[in-house]
Point group: C2
Chain length 294, copies 2
């Protein structure tokens, strides 16, 4: 039995990762299981954690979620199309079993915080973390604080310019050809008829993908002025993609943002996650750490 560590939940629409870890982002033990309905899933979560004495628990959740602490539905997953999870009181359910401080945020905000504390943005006061996979999501830390507002950002759904030679209609049920609709993993598969991993040798696939992602990153830079841009998720595992995105971002900004990070050090400014595939679960640990300190 490990005692007095931090608990972390990376709650995804298809899988849950639970871990216990330490205050420097170390993961001591972890389990991964498929996301089922809330009661079955919570039983597995509680089962994993109950053998540990925890100081705090952090939850990085798929969304949309209610992050407004003054709201009666704070800590809920709200209107998700995953029907059983709609209006699920996530924080309340965890509190029933564990009487410790609980940190709760979106999965991507969690990952951004994890990368800031222990990953590619260590030493900075802020960063954005973008995941390009089944969906596209972006989390942000600005001057040490997680970005919230009216609700939480939904940066994966911004409008970008279509490539004139791209016949694919887009796959977002809300916006059709928004960023996620054109550049997520499923969009790549629908457009080209194969998964991204099977298209590694087709340069046109990654040129087009970078064309879309670079527009989004350029807009994030112009709007948020992030101190570091971190690109993760399954689609970014294609090693040819990141250099293409960097090159196109520099081209799009065209010298307008006169900062040496962009003009001279783009390879250190737009980077891969320092925590690799652990960005999400370490992010949840980071939320636990913050909850404990507050």
């Amino acid at each position: 039995m490990i005692s007095l560590y931090l608990g972390a939940i990376e709650a995804g629409g298809t899988k849950f990762v639970c871990a216990v870890g330490g205050e420097n982002g170390e993961v001591y033990e972890r389990v991964t299981f498929a996301t089922k309905n809330p009661s079955e899933t919570m039983e597995e979560v509680v089962q994993f954690f109950k053998s540990h004495k925890l100081k705090a628990i952090g939850i990085g959740s798929f969304g949309p979620v209610d992050l407004d602490r003054t709201s009666p539905t704070y800590g809920y997953i709200t209107s998700t199309p995953k029907l059983n999870w709609s209006n699920f009181p996530f924080v309340e359910e965890i509190k029933k079993h564990f009487n410790v401080p609980i940190g709760f945020d979106t999965d991507v905000n969690a990952a951004a915080l994890g990368e800031l504390l222990w990953g590619a943005a260590k030493g900075e006061t802020g960063c954005i973390y973008m995941t390009v996979g089944t969906g596209i999501g972006v989390g942000a830390v600005i001057e040490g604080e997680l970005l919230h507002g009216l609700s939480h950002p939904e940066m994966g759904h911004i409008l970008i310019r279509r490539h004139p030679d791209d016949p694919f209609a887009g796959s977002c049920p809300f916006h059709q050809d928004c960023l996620e609709g054109l550049a997520s993993g499923p969009a790549i598969e629908k457009r080209w008829g194969k998964k991204g991993a099977e298209l590694a040798d087709r340069p046109e696939v990654w040129e087009l993908e970078a064309f879309y992602l670079a527009q989004a990153v350029a807009n994030y830079i112009l709007i948020l002025s992030p101190r570091k841009v971190i690109l993760g998720g399954g689609v970014m595992k294609q090693p040819q993609l990141l250099p293409l995105v960097r090159q196109k971002v520099v081209h799009l900004l065209n010298g307008y943002v006169q900062h040496e990070a962009i003009l001279h050090r783009i390879d250190e400014y737009i980077v891969s996650p320092g925590l690799g595939d652990n960005a999400g679960i370490c992010g949840a640990l980071a939320l636990a750490k913050r909850a404990m300190e507050q």
Copy 2:
């Protein structure tokens, strides 16, 4: 002689406004003069303020500016194309004459803070303020703090989708057909051959303008999740424009951001400046107030 008030400088590329005012945003006295070279302009600024005993001075400046307090060029206007003003140490110059706390930020961040304290976003913890005029600029306050980062945001230059029937090439010297290149006052004049004010009776002009502005506002909402969106500047004086922008933003978001401010109260969410044409100068007063309190 007015004693112990706040000084405010709204420093624009074509005109300067200086004012003395109070801690509730009241403007007691103001002057406006054309922007000349820095030494002539500073002489006029000093002349205006020297008959007043001031507690603090706030400067909302055209940019780009250096807002990094750890930088040797903090408080400078940096690489502006207005040649005489490039590398101008604005805060230093003011400090030579007035030994008081000095607040310094971009003109649009100042206006956003002014609107938050005393205008359309009063009672909120954040807002964005967009001005559509000679250029397009956007300032933001997030959870009480002015938005900075690597440098300051440059939201007026984001990429948006061109309308397929718009033959105008765009007027931005850096990005050609970015938002500012397609939707600023000069872009309207170049496209249609007349100033916006003379095109009031041409519905197609405002449909197209709203098509561009709504895309930008939708992206700002998805990226920043602002608590209030304030649209000011000369172009927004066309009363038909704001309702069109609201309608198109709602259409573009298509129910995705499930917050009642967007779903049911868009008229109260996307609004005109509460301070009208005083947003800029009141914003500079707000910067002075913050500088005094810090």
